[in-house]
């Protein structure tokens, strides 16, 4: 089933008056359950594309459809709720709220959804268990390693059973072994929970695992 469809999207930034076409006409179709890696050198437009898909930013031209809905027609509030219900984000670093523990970070998204406290505890505990990071439960981000933080970020991203997880360079700050474990985790979630994953990365390890590789260059799809 088709989850996302972009029609020739363009994102143009003004860099000191000079227009920069960060995304320069990308048409892409993503089906539910896919595992896609957007690969390309730094500055090729991967993050910009991911932010557009995640409705954090609006394309200058073109349309994005999510489950058939035109995202450009949604209000800010609707987009916020859309992200809360349907999406999960994992950034390169600093994903977690520093003053909250691992468990509270995970519960936070559930709280925003209005999940009752008892259920929040129960669900976050079992997910931490499932991801093998139960011992991090009461730790704050500054008491965790980078890899541990990213695992908690994965847990937070998937706790509300999103349709799509967008991961922007999730392994960039990790050594290859830790990165590998993190990718294992996400691959498992992709397979077991049928959550669609879109990665943006130029990390070889990520690219190798891609079940569908989309090469990006200068804001365009290079070849698939």
């Amino acid at each position: 089933m088709e989850l996302i469809k972009t029609e020739n999207i363009i994102k143009t930034y003004q860099d000191n008056g000079v227009p920069v076409h960060a995304v320069n006409g990308i048409s892409l179709e993503v089906n539910e359950g896919e595992h896609i890696v957007l690969a390309g050198p730094s500055g090729s437009g991967k993050t910009t594309l991911l932010n557009l898909l995640g409705a954090l930013d609006k394309p200058t031209e073109g349309k994005i459809f999510f489950e058939g809905d035109d995202l450009s027609l949604k209000s800010k509030k609707e987009l916020s709720d859309f992200r809360l219900h349907k999406l999960g984000f994992i950034f390169q670093a600093y994903n977690l709220i520093p003053v909250l523990t691992a468990m509270e970070n995970i519960e936070f998204s559930m709280m925003l959804l209005g999940v009752p406290e008892a259920e929040r505890h129960q669900r976050s505990e079992s997910l931490l268990e499932e991801l093998g990071i139960a011992e991090l439960k009461n730790k704050r981000p500054n008491e965790m390693s980078g890899g541990q933080q990213q695992r908690v970020a994965v847990a937070r991203a998937i706790i509300n059973n999103p349709k799509l997880v967008l991961a922007d360079e999730p392994t960039a700050n990790l050594d290859s072994k830790t990165g590998g474990h993190l990718l294992d985790l996400m691959d498992k979630m992709n397979e077991e929970k049928n959550i669609t994953f879109i990665f943006a990365s130029h990390d070889q390890q990520v690219i190798e695992r891609a079940r569908r590789l989309v090469k990006i260059k200068d804001g365009l799809v290079d070849n698939e």
Partner: protein, 404 residues
Amino acid sequence: MLIKLAWRNLWRNKRRSTIVLLSVIVGVNAMLFMDGMTNGMLSQILFNQISLSTSHIQIHNKGFSDNKTVQGIIKDSEKVEKAISNNPDVTAYSRRVITFGLLSSASNSTGVYIYGVIPEEEEKVSRIKSSIIEGNYLSNAKNEIIIGKKLAEKLKVGLGDKVVALANTPDGTIGSEVFRVAGIFKTPSSEFDKAFIYIPLATSQSMLDLGESFHEFAIITKNYKQSNSVRDELTSKLDAGIEVLSYEDLLPFIIIQLDMYKESMFVVNFIISLALIFGIINSTLMSVFERIQEIGVLMSIGMRIWKIFGMVVLEALILGVFGTVIGVVSGYLINIPFSIYGIDLSFFAESLESFAMGSILYPQLSVENFIITLFMIPLISVIAALYPAYRAIKLEPVYAIRYV
């Protein structure tokens, strides 16, 4: 959970939060202290005036208050007295002869207000008996007089010395009497001590040829706040030729001053509030700018912007509420010793004494101001947080997330 988040965010930068908290506490303390001082000063001035001679309510023949002529005796005073003693809210009254005359000693003479009173009645409506610092209060002996300390100095007389009082009688002749100084008083008002003398009522009546008549009923009610209502009750029972005046009618200047002081307190509170507002804006703005990336994450996970707005406001509100509660409690505690022992202002006592305030100020916190402070400061914190919160929600998520 939002409260938990806001609370923990406050502890991230302990130093900054503590500074804001302290400034709120100090601001609240300053507000309460200033208010206690003004309130104490005003009520001291007012109550001193009331207890010197004004009392809560005065009854005269119509026009006497404006023009104190010796002819202005109360007609049908028995009917008036009956109305007064039948009123359940009246606790005491004193009949007074009041006139202006000349008091002379061997060495000097000066104009004075002569009060003819029944000692047992007068001591219940004024502070005169307790203000005696030398000799005794009046005992009803015919030729006793009590005078103020300042007056005694001016006339160069002491206890037992002879003074002569002269005053016009209603038919224009001069009445006079010789007195011996029985007592000397000192009140918080040096003006009063210079100009008021007390003699027995009967003596004043014979000296002024008044028969059984007199000029004034000075009345004390159960509570000074009842003055106006008791005044109205009495007015309704008495003839149109009688004037019934409450202390508010009698001391318009002080009442106006009271209002002016209240307004000046408002200005002081406003300035303190303004300082607090800028302090809170500054610190909240800093805390928002330190968390740009984090706010981006919150936006990306789908936190609605009004919740982010609320989180920022909540942080300031928590500081405001805690600061206010601590400030109000400590302000109250700090005020206790001052309100008991007073603040000695004798270095400018001269001017204060002519103000009828006394040289020791007893601060009094008003419940009203307490409650206003309790609500106003948290409100101010919220107002101060609005701009930083607005800045937080105006962040573009993509920009914020990249911001490290």
